[in-house]
């Protein structure tokens, strides 16, 4: 039995304009009618416009951090929360360790070189250069290095 335009309009309201969503048994009738009837094609075009209008007004994206908020409200830590807290901007502890290490190494080198009489001056020069290099590398270290930057270039540590 052939499908009428009225039946077609009803089926469009039930199943939408996408033929893939239509029951297989009526799909062939739909195609046949659209091939024959201008009115059916117009109905289909309007149904497509309706579906397009609906698709264009689907849900906008969720607010930023919604999933994280839900997890937090459930008391579940997200991977970001499990990371160690960010280091404060003015925390230069690792640099202090680096400077301390450099100074200790310089000290050890100075003592070792000091054991060689003729080379004692060289040791002083190397130590002075080492301290100055460190101070130039990071202006923020000047305060730490105050003791080491005596005018004689040897540093008060020694």
């Amino acid at each position: 039995m052939n499908m009428t335009e009225q039946e077609f309009a009803k089926l469009l309201d039930i199943h939408g304009s996408d033929a893939a969503n239509w029951p297989a048994e009526v799909r062939a009738g739909m195609h046949r009618l659209c091939a024959q009837s201008a009115q059916a094609r117009e109905l289909l075009e309007h149904a497509r416009a309706f579906d397009e209008l609906m698709s264009a007004t689907c849900a906008p994206p969720a607010r930023a951090g919604l999933e994280a908020d839900i997890l937090a409200a459930a008391g579940i830590a997200t991977p970001a929360q499990q990371l160690p807290a960010a280091r404060p901007a003015n925390d230069n502890a690792p640099r202090r360790w680096l400077v301390g290490g450099m100074l200790a190494a310089s000290l050890a080198l100075g003592i070792w070189l000091g054991g060689f009489g003729p080379l004692a001056g060289v040791g002083e020069t190397i130590l002075g250069a080492s301290v100055r290099t460190a101070a130039l590398d990071d202006g923020g270290l000047a305060e730490i290095l105050d003791l080491a930057s005596e005018p004689d270039g040897q540093g008060g540590i020694l």
Partner: protein, 192 residues
Amino acid sequence: MPPLPDEDLMEAIAQADGKAFAALLSRHVEKVRAIGWRMLGSRADADDLAQDVFLRIWKNPAAYDRKKGRFSTWLYRVAANACIDRLRRRAPEPLDERMAEALAAHGPGPERALLEAEQSAQVRAAIAQLPQRQKLALVLSHDLGHTNIEIARIMDTSVEAVESLLGRARRKLKGLLSEQMKALVNGKGAEK
């Protein structure tokens, strides 16, 4: 390794497994929001609904019984019921507020954004006039792509009833949005 089915994740959630909950949330949050968006009409409400529904699941996972059916069927039913509860509690919003919300959702932009926001507000205002069950059938069919058989399961009704709901919903909306549809059809005609 294939992802765990929802029903297995729910069993893990019953053992307070936070990772399982995060996986389930990520998988379904947008679908719950889609229901909230169409039923409640605002992005903020859709987000709140998602939060409310998923926290209920986390706090009381035993409410879901896998012997009674698929998790997603149960979830959409819970989401729809939560929407209906909210709608019962609140007064309808004026169209101006929906416009403002639509504009906010699209963000600031050129004239096109304004037109889209206006169109979105008109569609939402039209959908707001539908009875709740018609709205739900429409979102499940159009936005979430469920078959009428699946919708019947979610809504705990017959396929014939779903077809009737969808038929009436689309017919009513086509009447309310006929101008916008004509503009779309004519716009395409002009492009050809």
